[in-house]
């Protein structure tokens, strides 16, 4: 079996709570909610054994953390959008897979650990995605953090470790990347009815990214990640990483069928719900000069070498 087929399809969706808590405030939020609902049905009928989430709103520092609590339960409140209400949750986590993912990550040189603590604060993006895409917990899930210092090599290896774990356990997965496109929000409170993408530049870049997704050009997007980071991302972390992880997990090529189910502003940021399904068609495969890293060797200690 082609290991690419371990992933049935991939989803890219935004972390903001509006589609979950207040879709009625804006037609755009409602469109996003409808897109989530459509994907919920597709996941249920996909035959997936697991939903694997990579969330950009779960930052980690000590390596890569993987949620392993079998039934995490809490009432979550977002730091910014607390006035929209609370998000009670109880999820069904595949602990066995979490441990297998950790082992696979360590085998590839990454520092990784599972977390399984009562009351652990699952992040807004993961809560929104799992609540909307898997509301009845019919399919077990797993969540992996996004290390704030990691860059391309580390993220690619983390994605490949996910493939290793899926292959080893023989599980079919739907993978979910939780991230905005442009992530600049308005810095003041707005009437949701007046929500729009923060700037024309952000909107144009978002639409270009969506073109790539629609054409199934995942590897091309992966190669564009550094440009995307510089152009339309607030510099909160080292790099724009979600597409790196998505490509490494699903397969680093352009053989996908893309579908944009919704693209709407979320307090100024670009929120898109996208499905990417492996296919035999390819659009413009190219060669790229960045290394395809298989094993993470750690820091290069550039500062220390400078003293020699």
């Amino acid at each position: 079996m082609d290991s690419d087929q371990d992933v049935l399809f991939g989803i890219y969706c935004p972390p903001h709570p509006q589609p979950l808590l207040a879709p009625e405030l804006n037609n755009g939020y409602k469109n996003l909610r409808n897109a989530y609902d459509k994907l919920r049905d597709r996941i249920q009928s996909s035959g997936a054994d697991i939903i694997l989430i990579y969330s950009t709103t779960w930052p980690s520092i000590v390596g890569h953390q993987i949620q392993a609590h079998p039934e995490p339960e809490w009432i979550h409140v977002d730091d910014d959008f607390h006035y929209l209400g609370s998000m009670p949750y109880k999820f069904n986590i595949d602990s066995d897979f979490a441990h297998a993912y950790r082992d696979a990550a360590e085998s590839r040189g990454l520092h990784s650990r599972t977390v399984a603590y009562d009351g652990f604060p699952i992040d807004t993006g993961s809560v929104v995605a799992l609540s909307l895409l898997n509301p009845d917990n019919k399919i077990p899930a797993c969540i992996v953090s996004s290390n704030m210092y990691s860059n391309r090599s580390e993220t690619m290896v983390l994605g490949k470790a996910a493939r290793d774990a899926l292959s080893k356990q023989g599980k079919k997965a739907v993978i979910v990347v939780v991230a905005s496109l442009s992530n600049r929000m308005f810095t003041e409170h707005i009437d949701p009815k007046n929500d729009k993408i923060h700037s024309s530049k952000d909107d144009e870049w978002n639409k270009k990214i969506l073109e790539f997704f629609k054409d199934g050009r995942l590897e091309d997007l992966s190669q564009l990640s550094r440009d995307i980071h510089g152009q339309i991302r607030i510099q909160k972390v080292a790099a724009y990483k979600p597409v790196w992880w998505m490509a490494a997990t699903m397969g680093q090529h352009n053989n996908y069928q893309g579908e944009i189910l919704a693209y709407e502003p979320l307090h100024g940021s670009g929120g898109a719900v996208i499905q990417l399904t492996p296919s035999n068609e390819s659009v413009g495969d190219k060669e790229f000069d960045e290394d395809d890293v298989e094993y993470y060797h750690g820091d290069r200690n550039v500062l220390d070498r400078g003293n020699l």
Partner: protein, 356 residues
């Protein structure tokens, strides 16, 4: 559906409430106005105003604390609220904190106001707006060492006054009134280390991410405006306030952790340049050069990825009028590679000390 309770707008009861007993006097008078003629009411109101103005002392900041919040410090203290058990560690910082906590015991204050980077908001500055919060805080980064049961009280009245003052100064603000909101571990760690008895109310102020959205310079401007607005509210309230800026100095972490987190043989600063910058800042604090510290803050923050990026120190220094007297240095130590200093600014020259 939106949570209606959480959506409810905060109620501003105004400044004539609570602290000095004026509220009951005012309300009692209001209840009897129907039997008094207009002139008598007017004379009485003037009298109350004069008495209130003379009776209420201007509020003030009685101490400012730079209080780093690595959860490792609470973990090492082994308080009953924290579930994991440690064999100690990071004594230089903890003993410094312990000494500062003893100093605080001798200071008369009403409320601790804390600015935390771990309640990060992108849409303005938010203030805790409910009187009680009781729950479990689990650190999302270090859940293995910090699972703390908290039960704390908030001075909602002063929080509302700060919110109002900041809003009037043109700062985007929001009161946080969702009862399910979880208090961040930065607030809990700094407050626990400064006042383990939790016998004073607190106010938490979120950190607006101006450095990320704009630049270190914009952060300095915004945090300064917020500090000045908070000072106005404090002065108007008549309360004695301890300000807490909760953060590390240099803030590059190691991305691995030793099997025993408190193994001090593994602890050191991430790299030498971080250390040199931290020492530069601490020496300027020791020399009372806080204006200069704030002036170089953007460069320092960029060079050391410092947690000053959240704006806490700038906010506190602005509220304290950029002190030109020496800071009290209680300790400096690295925690998982980051540089941390416990420092205090005592406006009272009679009680100000040279600690280290």
């Amino acid at each position: 559906m939106p949570n209606k309770q959480a959506s409810k707008k905060p109620i501003d009861k105004g400044i004539v409430a609570g602290h000095n007993g004026i509220e009951s006097h005012f309300i009692l008078h209001g209840k009897h106005t129907y039997s008094i003629n207009a002139m008598k009411i007017l004379k009485r109101l003037i009298h109350i105003t004069v008495v209130a103005t003379k009776g209420m002392e201007k509020g003030q900041v009685v101490l400012g604390c730079l209080a780093p919040h690595p959860p490792h410090l609470v973990y090492a203290e082994n308080p009953e609220q924290n579930e994991p058990f440690s064999e100690g560690g990071w004594e230089t910082l903890r003993w410094g904190y312990n000494r500062l906590a003893r100093k605080l015991k001798k200071i008369d204050y009403d409320v601790m106001v804390i600015f935390t980077p771990h309640w990060a908001t992108y849409i303005g500055t938010h203030f805790l707006g409910l009187p009680k919060f009781k729950s479990l805080s689990v650190d999302p980064i270090f859940p293995n060492i910090f699972r703390y049961k908290y039960d704390l009280t908030v001075d909602v009245q002063l929080a509302q006054e700060m919110h109002k003052s900041a809003s009037e100064a043109g700062i985007i603000t929001k009161m946080m009134t969702n009862p399910d909101f979880r208090i961040d571990y930065g607030t809990i760690t700094s407050c626990h280390m400064l006042n383990p008895e939790w016998d004073k109310p607190i106010i938490t102020i979120s950190s607006n991410r101006n450095t990320h959205y704009y630049s270190g310079e914009v952060m300095n401007e915004q945090a300064t405006a917020l500090g000045e607005a908070c000072l106005k509210a404090i002065e108007k309230s008549g309360k004695k306030v301890v300000l807490v800026s909760s953060h590390s100095l240099s803030h590059r972490h190691f991305v691995t952790e030793s099997p025993l987190p408190e193994d001090m043989s593994r602890e050191h600063i991430y790299n030498h340049s971080q250390y040199v910058w931290d020492m530069k800042m601490i020496n300027m604090m020791r020399e009372g050069k806080m204006k200069e510290v704030i002036d170089i803050m953007p460069e320092y923050t960029e060079q050391t990825i410092a947690e000053t990026e959240a704006g806490g120190l700038t906010w506190m220094m602005a509220a304290m009028g950029l002190p030109n007297y020496p800071a009290e240095i209680y300790g400096y130590q690295s925690v998982i590679g980051t540089g941390n200093a416990v420092v205090a600014w005592d406006p009272n020259s009679q009680t100000r000390e040279i600690v280290l």
